[in-house]
Amino acid sequence: MTSFEELTTKERPTWCPGCGDWGILTALKKALVELNLPKHQVVVVAGIGCSGHLPQWINTYAFHSLHGRALPVAQAIKLANHELNVIAVGGDGDGYGIGMGHFIHAMRRNVNITYIVHDNQIYGLTTGQASPTSEKGFKTKSTPHGQIEPPVNPIALALSADCSFVARGFAGDVPHLVKLIVQGIQHKGFALIDVLQPCVTFNYLNTFDYFYRRIYKLEEDSSYDPTNKQEAFKRAFEWGERIPIGLFYKENRKTYEDELPQISQMPLVKQKIDFVDIKNLIEEMC
């Protein structure tokens, strides 16, 4: 049985006290315990930013990639060994800014991995500049006169990019987030879990209190059907007085791996390469 303790490293996270990242790390570990995934069968892939430090503090295999580049690494790990559970983590700057191109294509590709985005609407590790999800008018070090652009909407983007599992969690509600991560890992296909994650040091606007007052859970609305994309789009644009969290949308479609006869028998990594017969290839050239 996988235990919470064995997933915990000796080193203590260096995140700010009270940071939403703590909740995400706890929720991820709890989800792995709940799913009873052996720790050596899990690879956590991160980009750069405060979120990028997460793999250091969870006792699984990990690849700490470059800024914005968690997803291409994570997808390829899964393609090379689809028996692994691959979880990518990143921030809003990482995934929705510099890594936006990978984000869109990973979703339509539908490789069976889970992507958890620490969405704090600010750049934390670089000490407080505007991020792609910062609200219009938000004043930061890089936008002292207020952010001019409207924020990107990751949920709506995911829906339009054919993401097969679209969810939003809140770092201040760990039990709910655990459920979402469990569902995300269980989902066959690319699962996005955007997590509202207050930055207690640099984001004075989108605080825990800000979210406690606004969020509601989609699953508590019995009329909500997470297989209805049109409905999901409507809720995706809901932001302000009320902010929905939970599962927005889910569909079952083939994963990228399902379409690859190359790995239908066994993972790529298990295929022998000691002797590759290339006689035919040479013959074709003659």
Partner: protein
Amino acid sequence: MSEFSWKIGGEAGYGIMTTGFILGKSFVRAGFFVFDTNEYPSLIRGGHNTYTVRISEDPVFSHSKKIDILVALTDIAIEKHKKEVRKDGFIIYDEGFVNVKELKGINLIPVPLTKIAIEKGGQNIMRNNVALGASFALIDVDPEILYDAIRDTFKGKKGEDIAQTNINVAKAGYEYVLEKFQNINKIKIKSNGKQKRMYINGNEAIAIGAIKAGCKFYAAYPMTPASSILHYLASKENDYNIIVKQTEDEIAAIHMAIGASFAGVRAMTGTSGGGFSLMTEALGLAAITETPLVVVLAQRPGPSTGLPTHTEQGDLRFAMHASNGEFPRVIVAPGDVNECFYETFNAFNIAEKYQLPVIIITDKFLAESHATTDPFFIDGMKIDRGQLLSEDKAKNIQDYKRYENTISGISLRALPSQENTIFKAATDEHDEYGRLSEEPADRIIQVDKRFRKMKVLETEIDGAKFYGDKDAEVIIVSWGSTKGPILEAMKLLHKKDIKVGFLQILYIIPFPVNKTKSFLEDAKKKILIENNKTGQLGSVIKEKTGIDMDYKILKYDGRPFTPEEIVSQIEEVLIHDKL
């Protein structure tokens, strides 16, 4: 005559590449040695394309400046290439579509190519095959070798009927010229007997080398002249169980290759200079995480998109220094299709053994030119996965340190899913376990450990080859695709009693310092030949050995050297020295 050259020129989009390839293939099958090269602008229809095929009774390593038969499908083809046609050579042109006045010393062969194509085949695009048939009527060989090659080319792709129609069209061209031009002096060439040889270009050789090496994952974004590696591997992905992924950009391509390699499969990416620019940051990621990686950099003239479909060797320094920070890498520069194959195979072994990025640097001229060579000799080619831990070995490991500070600098490499060896691969500096560390001591240990690997590697690699006479009057130094034209130039110089030696630098990193010194220190005249503006290899030689080149022969018009150009420039050097 022991050889001849044939060239076809016309608009893009009319099958010129296939036509040239068929001609080359037919002669390879008949036992001749062939080298071909193409030239085309960056567009899909229109413009001016050429395909040049040199056919010889003896081994041949590059194209030649002189053309014996020019097939002109357009007026531009005549204008651009009439000066290349040798005295008493031939120009076959599309009568009714191409206008030519008398050309002194050249045999004009007007053939209604399009008309015959429509009459016999129903499609004007088949005029190329009429031209092929017409060409064979000027050469003293059995045209059956042509018909066989046409059948082989079209049968698989388009079926027996289409193949036969194409053959009929070619036959019509052959018979037309035979009947109309009975008094011509045919080109005489004689095969030394059929022998099985490959007719292959650099990219195909790299792709097959990668397959032989057990490459299981290739990720790339299309970019000339690297794209045909992607195409070739994609066409074989199900036969050899390779995942070939066209990615959203080159950044994703290299990160995917790194991810797949981290998970334990041999992985490669390929691109040209522009795409390589996007990959540079991740090159450092492979280095600091010590993830094996093979990158093909097929150069074209820059900066920026430069001359997208042409050739140059302008990225040597770029490859050597790409990415921020200091880290070891290997750069190998194959000079012909054989080296493309064998060095790609070696590149995978080196990448895994030393856990670092290996760059295979080529260029458009090498990537897309076909050459004849013996079938690759594959006996004894051994996969060496270095310190990769097997499942069994990993089970017995306690207190695993992925980045252990070993004497060789090489550490045991575990894979995700192995039970006792959980570790972190990190883009940030780390300690021996892979945990992030900003401690000065850890930093020094890890930097030194990474560089120590090169010390071992240097002893394993013989990075230079020498051809010709060591005591020659002239020693040429070069790298990469210039090898072919240089070897051909040496033959021509030999006929003129000029003795030449040639030092080919095969590995740029680790640089063959001792071998270079031993061949250059006492050399009388050292001539650097490079397909670039600034003589980049020359500066590397100076840096590594202190030796200055006496002369530089540089070319940066986007075209490869011809042997004749090299000869005349070397002769100029010799005359200049005597004055």
